[in-house]
């Protein structure tokens, strides 16, 4: 029974996103409401919307929905919920309550799968300190699950995705490669130890301690469907400043075993799309073989946080991150001044 979940789906997880260029095109045609209380909305592809209620209170609001990327329904529920909650954390907020959004094929009557998915989600909402307060379901051929989440944030402490500063260090808090691994799961060639690693990271909440959030973090986002280069390029290009980044490939954490799966052909359509769109922004200063390069474009589901932080506080941040269980957190590069078309230098 469990085996079925991945067979019921086409693209997995965040690899099922709509092409970012197409998205940009049609979103630009939708009327956007300007309001001084809306601190984050459409304009720079923020992780979540933020609405200022008063000087000290802001609401963070987000919705995310994904297709299965593992076969175990309880684990899938956990991953989807962790992924949805992440957008609240990526704004510097805390989840208050969540609603389920679920699509499931009614004909198949496999409600035990659905029950497990929802149980996984509920457990993660509780772990995140939020309340699951209801939801909405749809009869659909392909299963999908996620949450709409409302959180709280101090409007003065919102951390945006496009406000890095020259000289900042860049930290990535989880290893890359979960997109390739979920393709390998679907292809039924993934080994248990590799899957366990991917599941461990995809179910780890991106919740940072207050102590970490009080550090001088200039910009913050989570790495999801557009891959590391995609999300980093948003951080730089949408800043409206002449900013670039130098990233050190060998310092980027990658789940062990991922390169073998690339060589076996387990690259998702999403990774190839991301590479096509974003590779013109990245300049390769080292010889990168395909299996290494593609990891930089691999769509991550419930991926890690990309933190742009004052270099004075980077050591403390890494120490705290490791204490908080982000044991593969690494400094992967720094923010530089750049006008070049190739804003990201891979060294």
């Amino acid at each position: 029974m469990i085996e079925k979940l991945m067979q019921m789906t086409r693209a997995s997880g965040c690899a099922a996103k709509i092409n970012p260029k197409d998205l940009e095109n049609f979103l630009s045609k939708i009327k956007q409401t300007k309001d001084k209380r809306l601190l984050a909305g459409f304009e720079h592809n923020e992780d979540a919307a933020v609405y200022k209620l008063d000087e000290n209170t802001g609401i963070v609001f987000t919705l995310d929905l994904i297709t299965p990327l593992v076969n175990d329904p309880y684990v899938f529920g956990q991953i989807a919920a962790t992924n949805s909650l992440s957008d609240v954390f990526a704004m510097g907020g805390r989840p208050l309550m969540a609603l389920n959004i679920v699509c499931f094929p009614e004909e198949e009557k496999k409600y035990n799968l659905l029950e497990e998915i929802l149980r996984g989600g509920a457990d993660k909402v509780a772990e995140a300190g939020g309340i699951l307060a209801g939801g909405h379901s749809l009869n659909d051929k392909e299963p999908k699950y996620g949450l709409a989440v409302v959180g709280l944030v101090d409007p003065k402490k919102v951390i945006y995705n496009n406000t890095p500063e020259v000289g900042d260090f860049l930290i990535l808090t989880k290893p890359l490669g979960v997109g390739i691994i979920s393709t390998a799961i679907k292809g039924e060639i993934a080994e248990k130890r590799v899957v366990d690693k991917a599941v461990f990271w995809m179910t780890k909440l991106n919740k940072l301690s207050q102590e970490l959030l009080e550090l001088n973090i200039h910009s913050l986002t989570d790495v999801t469907g557009f891959g590391l280069v995609g999300h980093l390029s948003e951080m730089l290009l949408l800043s409206g400043k002449e900013l670039g980044a130098k990233i050190m490939f060998e310092d980027i954490p990658v789940i062990e075993g991922v390169y073998d799966y690339v060589n076996t052909g387990m690259v998702s359509e999403g990774a190839m799309k991301n590479r096509k769109i974003y590779s013109c922004i990245a300049e390769k200063n080292i010889n990168l073989s395909f299996e290494k390069e593609i990891v930089l474009y691999d769509p991550q589901t419930s991926g890690g946080l990309l933190i742009s932080i004052d270099p004075q506080q980077v050591e403390k941040a890494i120490k705290l991150l490791h204490q908080e269980g982000f044991t593969e957190s690494k400094i992967i590069g720094e923010v530089i001044k750049s006008k070049s078309k190739e804003r990201i230098k891979i060294c």
Partner: protein, 70 residues
């Protein structure tokens, strides 16, 4: 006689899995593969060359014919 397999219409990674299974069974010879996405073409080519098969690619409109041999 050449063997052939049509993986058009299958979603990733099913095309590469189907071709991989076929090649494992054949061990040597020629396999013609009909593919309809660039990603599947690249994935199959990478998997095959990494397992010591030779790949020749013919572009036919929106589709590709891969001739895989060993």
């Amino acid at each position: 006689m050449n063997q052939s397999i049509d993986v058009r219409g299958l979603s990733c990674p099913l095309p590469v899995v189907a071709v991989r299974n076929k090649l494992l069974e054949m061990k040597k010879g020629i396999l013609e593969v009909l593919v309809d996405t660039g990603t599947s073409k690249d994935n199959i080519t990478r998997m095959a060359t990494n397992t010591d098969w030779k790949v020749e690619i013919k572009e036919e409109g929106e589709e590709y014919l891969l001739i895989i041999s060993r």
